[in-house]
Symmetry: D2
Subunit: 397 residues, 4 copies
């Protein structure tokens, strides 16, 4: 916690979450990762029960929705501690992509959508996915896509090819981004539509093998073909043509959620580095921590992580005060800045552990693989840098 | 200014200082740098008069001492804007090494010392220097030194060899660090003593040529031989043996002052990059700012500078709340973190300007040379990293 | 091929190997990686038959042993082209760790050992492993180990705990490094002994899961417990106490083999970057290759790879002329220099491909995971840097 | 020397040059740098006499022109040793920009030009400069320029504004690049013309202050206004319109000359690092060289320098075999690759020396300033990277 961002509510909640993570999750994290997800999910279900009992469930939700009513700035700090173990967010039902879908639906769903989709999602009874990225289009610019939703009576008929629909396997529904009016202005072409995954024509082609793992259930990235997939018009979120705006709204906080997570991962990696460095006997009366190179890595990591945290918390604070649209540039900035720090710190942590560091006996190698995507998804570094630079340069023109 | 650190006092003062810097100093900065310092000093004297009139003089001093009574956090933000031009701090009489000496004497001087040395220093009537570093000793560990001050009746007789006594040329007095009891505990061996520079035996051997410039007056780094240099015992600061502790007290805030400065330099360099990039015609209908590499540099610089600023301001805030001793580790962290960002940003700014960037027609090349020392003085990066790492590792032992 | 290193023999062989790699292996590389190794091995057996027919089999072996009789410098260039696909070396029976064991046994084995172990290994009828690294000891300094081989009549009884015994699963025998005389000078304590893997007491505890894969057969890293594992004294390689010297001899060329491989991987990664960059439509009339950032990556990769190749070939040339002992420092240098270039180039290649880059649809993600160890195994970067620096500094003392 | 590139001629010459550099130049290098160039030039004149006597004069010239008749590959290795001290090349009359002008005139001058300009230049009796770069145009693309040479009877009348005309101060003549036919194809617009510096209208506006130094004589970068500067048509080099082609021919070898120099500077910087590291007492029984960070820097520098040398020598070899046009891409590659290594190594060498490193008591700070331009002149890194990348990418289109 940072003094300036430490509210009373946070100070009350933080130690509870920290204890939960350290006692309930970290000790079994390797065990959880080694089994197929659907098996791990049973153990995690018990942890969720404990979380509900401890009063730490769904920290980002309002109390009327069963949550803890945290501001973005408060949640950022809880999120960090949750991220120190792979299933921290999952255990409190604030994992991506569900948290993003919850935030979206919470703001834009109809009563009926809320009852059928949002409510059980908030309660952790179902999972969901977000189906936007297409293999045929560069970047994650939600303007470019081939998937269409054609109005047919009271239905939409959806056709298209999506991939990296994270956690599609086992999800109850997808929020699909599709073109509803190809002739409209490019920012008004697409809409978001809820598609239950048991709808005929929703075809999960495969879980894409990523960095050596195909995964299962929540831990997957789905490739999906929508083939004459018919859903009622009432499944439309907000209004026709608002897809791009909704995507912007969803991605902004989504990016900050990622940054929060990455800082937590970094803290854990640094903790592991230090722990190992002081205990690794070099056979000559010294320990690994006596090596200046290791000390350099620890110092550089500490500095980078602190810098990242301040950046992210000030951005969260800005979002709390002025909304995520106002913080758009700040969000682009932290996206590329923090993801690179994450990769730096993980790399140093692995190198510190030597051969042990690349084994799956530690969680580091899992993050190393799973987070390589951090510099790519939700907009690659290069896109965010250009966005930021162009915004800055505009002031000079 | 950062919203969370923007007090009313600061918001009133900031625009005045900014206007002063942009109107009075930046337009003549190259002209000032091109002439010998003692000539530039005359012009700067006029600027100091303006500064007094504008009510922005000596922002870190209390109002009873003629200053603006800013906290460290407030001053940090003023310091940043001052640093966007080489003589900003000088114009407001808050330049190193005088500011450090003022802070030290303000806390520890006798009435007599205050009257004779501190008062005229606060008023900008004289300059001073700080004589600690010796060529024979590695690092800037104030524990190691050869210079001695031997008690002889009511006098000290000082002998020793110092260098990098910044701004000694033209200074009215030096604060000298010397061993008064070589048999004491290593942290109690040395004392600080005021030595007027006209004392016989205070021999300024040379202004050390640094990065191509020998300089003059304030813009120098002196090599000094103290040869049977006799000063009254009443020139002792605080008490015998307190030299190390005083040095720690002086260096802590000194380092944060540097960091504030560096951020200001970075902001100016980035501003110059942007300004040049949008105006440089590439001969093919595009401008330099259209190049993705330039955009990358702008974005990366922006992110790094923001990160640095948050780090420094949170450290300043910690010093305001808990004192500089409590923030010792934070100060080590920002010292190496920010100095490296400074060098990164300056390097990119120069590269952006091409051949123009290495000329002295711009202020960039001056900073590039003068700030290369930033990673060395007040403790090289490597020492600060080890200090930080060892402090962290201690928690694991 | 580099002009100065292009012999006639090489110029005759190179295009054949290149065609073999591009026609027989690259097209099925993803398919091969997707199946369990023992299944892939059947397909690879057919490829080995083709290789024998083409006269490219075992290029590093003498013709009387069925090979092509290449010098190290020639083989380096063949090795590079082989490395452009994961099973290139395997298909020509010059894969680690077998190639290292063959080189060792070829020089030091008895007639009996040659007949029983070396001959079938050269013919690709069996596989082998090298059992040196222990989890309890830092670095890969072959001086430190706990495994013992106690003489008992005409047998050794081996006890110890090894890990990262690569390809132990399915190997016919291991070359084990064990202490035979704990009281000897530290460089004379250990010996190398051949242990058939079906010997009682040779217990493959597990294939260590590394970067998400446990693997199978050749593609594994074994953890082995030697528990009263008894082998005849005639299985000793060379003489008692020569283990350290043999290890040095084995590791030197081993490291250069790795470097050759890494350059081949880099070339393939760069080729994939270029191929993708020119074909990826950005949706605005440009392709990815038009982006300056991508161009920077291609240029920087090209320069680094070229530099690496020159370094490695000059080192290979030195080994050919003066033996691997003379090139010890050069080998340390290329080990850390090239492994870092490998990681740089792979990282850029992945980032260029975006989301596709992290999928297992391309071979990049396989290398990204499998080669992260390159900066660790056979001595981490940090150890090689110290070795090199100390050797240089010795000339100044 | 690299074994593969060590000819008999080189092995005979190298030790003589090395001894000359170490005995005649390095000991007085700081002294030479401290005085105005025209004063240093007198001392250097004596050294030139010694060089002639030793038979090492003008190593790149044929023996009939008084030189040693070295190939590019041989000269590269001599150039490296010369570059270990600031005036090495000057002492042997192979300094830029004269060497480039000599190479150009040697190939293209008329008998008359040869007698009047080339001969005395070869003999070191006069100096020259090369006047191409203009402040108004980005990059060093010789296609873009405003300077014109208008035919008027048997004269050209030259008008234009040039800068970074290195060593113009005191030069006997300039080779000026000017547009002779603005309507021609862009590669045929410009011509090269010899302009004696005492021609009316050749106005050296100033020596541009660069990185803190205005310099004098040879050590300057001139800003020149050509104002109705009239020279006879017989001063044209080659033919009208061939300026661009001649520039390409001149810049190619020019870049390789720079790379050779940079490697020599790196070697000296590394030598100084090592020398200082073993002698700097840390006050605790260790020396600086015991620090792992210093060891890392030494090892990384060693590796980078070796890599750079192999690259440059293979490129020189290619030029010797196939001409500089064939090696155009290789030259672009080494230009950005080696200049960055130069800056890395210099930075580490300075940091190793601490405060001493930034003083002008060592030659490091001189190089740090003077070579910052290496990443800019003769085409900035960014341009060379694009050139290289586009050439590579062309093969994929």
């Amino acid at each position: 916690m940072i003094e300036l961002f430490a509210t009373e509510k946070l100070m009350a909640l933080y130690p509870k979450v920290e204890a939960f993570v350290k006692e309930e999750l970290q000790p079994i994290e390797i065990e959880l990762l080694k089994q197929p997800f659907n098996q791990a999910a049973k153990i995690l279900e018990d942890k969720r029960t404990i979380a509900r009992q401890l009063g730490i469930w769904a920290p980002f939700l309002n109390s009327e929705d069963g949550g803890q009513g945290l501001s973005m700035t408060e949640f950022a700090q809880i999120s960090e501690i949750l991220a120190t173990t792979p299933f921290g967010h999952y255990a409190l039902n604030c994992q991506a992509p569900d948290i993003g879908n919850i935030e979206l639906l919470n703001k834009y769903s109809t009563e009926d959508q809320r009852r059928k989709y949002l409510k059980p999602l908030m309660e952790g009874k179902i999972r969901s996915c977000f189906s936007m990225t297409e293999p045929g289009f560069a970047g994650s610019n939600p303007v470019n896509m081939d998937t269409t939703a054609i109005r047919d009576g009271n239905d939409y008929i959806i056709n298209g090819h999506k991939w990296f629909t994270t956690a599609a396997d086992g999800a109850a529904f997808a929020i699909v981004m599709a073109v509803t009016d190809k002739d409209a202005d490019k920012y008004r072409r697409a809409s978001m539509i809820i598609v239950p995954t048991d709808t005929p024509g929703f075809n999960l082609v495969r879980n894409i093998p990523v960095m050596g793992e195909t995964g299962e259930g929540y831990l997957t990235h789905g490739e999906i073909r929508y083939e004459d997939c018919r859903v009622p018009v009432s499944n439309l979120i907000d209004e026709e043509g608002s897809g791009f705006l909704l995507a912007q709204q969803r991605l902004g906080p989504g990016r900050i959620h990622h940054c929060m997570r990455w800082i937590g991962i970094c803290e854990r990696a640094l903790d592991m580095m230090c722990r190992y460095a002081v205990s690794r006997d070099m056979g000559d009366g010294t320990v690994l921590a006596d090596k200046q190179t290791i000390q350099n890595w620890i110092a550089e990591s500490r500095a980078e992580i602190d810098a990242a945290r301040y950046m992210v918390l000030h951005t969260a604070h800005m979002i709390d005060q002025q909304g995520s649209k106002a913080a758009r540039i700040e969000i682009s900035t932290i996206k590329f800045f923090v993801s690179n720090i994450l990769m730096n710190v993980l790399d140093k942590a692995i190198q510190t552990h030597g051969a042990l560091g690349i084994t799956d006996d530690l969680v580091l190698s899992w993050w190393y693989r799973h987070e390589r995507g951090s510099r790519i998804y939700d907009g690659p570094d290069e896109v965010h840098k250009s966005v930021l630079a162009k915004k800055i340069l505009k002031q000079y023109m």
